[in-house]
């Protein structure tokens, strides 16, 4: 058998086994993206309610608390970057890391020291490869986030936020994650968790709340809950985006594998036909030579 045919046959075989993997991964992503979306949607009312309450409280200036304190010139900011654990999701991680890089550049221009917090192995790999420092990293299950990890991240960030700036605490907390817009569009976004951007709107007058039992205790309770819920709902949304991106990437990988298989099959058939033709002409030439001698 000709060497050429063998080469093509091997290529077809390996491409079709890869195609099976792509197909399986696409199906898994498709099956799980629905669940991830409904989890993200289910956590939205809670996150919204808590954000409203925090916004109302933050608008009240007469309470002395880290939550309502205004820092005129922020010195340090924590930036939480949410990428994925695994690749095979197209440009998902690259896009969100790129977005975080531009945020870091903006912060640097403003003279703010950025402290990166990473979520997902891809983000960690990006920093490790460039020997860049980061404060903390969480990995595992980015496509199916666990509420305990969300609490852990929230706690780490809140601890850092309540620390005084002189002792290494941060004045701002930013969140970079991928927003799920639809099955085909996922957009990396930057959100500032703290301090809250109070919308100075004339029409919405925030009420002056009475606090039970006391303003301090309510705010102490509210701050970690707010951060945790925002982080966890971002994690859920990022996981839905990751799965949707993976589904899309695997779909096009499968399509490309199909194209390759078609191309190689054609080439293999050409090679086989060429070999048969050559053998035939050799036979005929041999017979001719025998007959004329």
């Amino acid at each position: 058998m000709g060497a050429q045919i063998r080469v093509y046959r091997d290529k077809i075989r390996s491409t079709s086994s890869m195609k099976k993997i792509f197909k399986a991964m696409e199906l898994i992503a498709t099956a799980r993206v629905g669940k991830a979306r409904s989890r993200a949607q289910a956590s939205t009312p809670y996150a919204e309610a808590i954000t409203r309450a925090v916004a109302a409280v933050a608008a009240q200036n007469d309470i002395d608390h880290v939550l309502t304190e205004k820092v005129a010139e922020p010195k340090r900011a924590a930036v939480l970057v949410m990428a994925s654990d695994r690749g095979l999701a197209g440009a998902y991680s690259t896009n969100v890391i790129k977005k975080s890089e531009s945020l870091l550049a903006t912060l640097r221009e403003q003279g703010v020291e950025a402290r990166p917090y990473l979520y997902g192995r891809k983000a960690q790999a990006f920093y490790d490869f460039r020997s860049r420092e980061y404060d903390q990293v969480w990995t595992g299950n980015t496509d199916n986030p666990d509420v305990t990890v969300g609490r852990e991240i929230g706690k780490a960030l809140v601890d850092r936020f309540v620390q005084p700036t002189e002792e290494g605490g941060v004045d701002e907390i930013y969140l970079v994650y991928t927003e799920f817009q639809s099955m085909v569009t996922q957009e990396p976004v930057v959100k500032r968790l703290l301090p809250l951007a109070v919308v100075e709107d004339e029409t919405t007058v925030h009420p002056l709340y009475e606090f039970e039992p006391s303003p301090e205790e309510v705010l102490d309770e509210l701050l970690p809950k707010y951060i945790e819920s925002r982080i966890f709902s971002a994690m859920l949304e990022a996981s839905a985006s990751e799965l949707a991106a993976r589904q899309k990437a695997m779909k096009s990988a499968g399509d490309n594998a199909n194209d390759l298989i078609l191309k190689y099959t054609l080439l293999r058939n050409n090679a086989r036909q060429a070999e048969i033709t050559q053998e035939l002409s050799e036979l005929i030439a041999g017979a001719d030579a025998l007959a004329s001698s």
């Binding site: 989890r39 289910a42 956590s43 809670y46 309450a53 709340y209 606090f211 039992p213 309510v218 309770e221």
Partner: protein, 88 residues
């Protein structure tokens, strides 16, 4: 008569929403009843029963809530609990 616009949410799902005549919840300092026209308040919840009297009749809705807080503002009541499930 004015009614309360009540929304009850737990960490991972919306529990109940609708109009109510009154609502009673257990705060860390004891039970607290809310009627329409209540002053704006933000209170921490203790573990305990939350009772809602819906406007459209029927028996009171009882839910077991754990942790969280509730806010009252212009007859809008938002109960944000860590865990909540309706027992009715």
């Amino acid at each position: 008569m004015a009614a309360l616009d009540v929304q009850v949410v737990a960490a991972d799902h919306a529990v109940w929403s609708g109009e109510a005549k009154s609502l009673t919840g257990r705060t860390v300092e004891g039970d607290m009843g809310i009627l329409p026209g209540h002053t704006p308040v933000l209170a921490l919840l203790a573990e305990g029963e939350l009772t809602i009297e819906p406007v459209d009749g029927g028996g009171p809705i009882k839910a077991h809530v754990k942790g969280g807080f509730f806010s009252v503002d212009d007859d809008k009541v938002t109960v944000v609990a860590d865990e909540a499930d309706i027992r009715s």
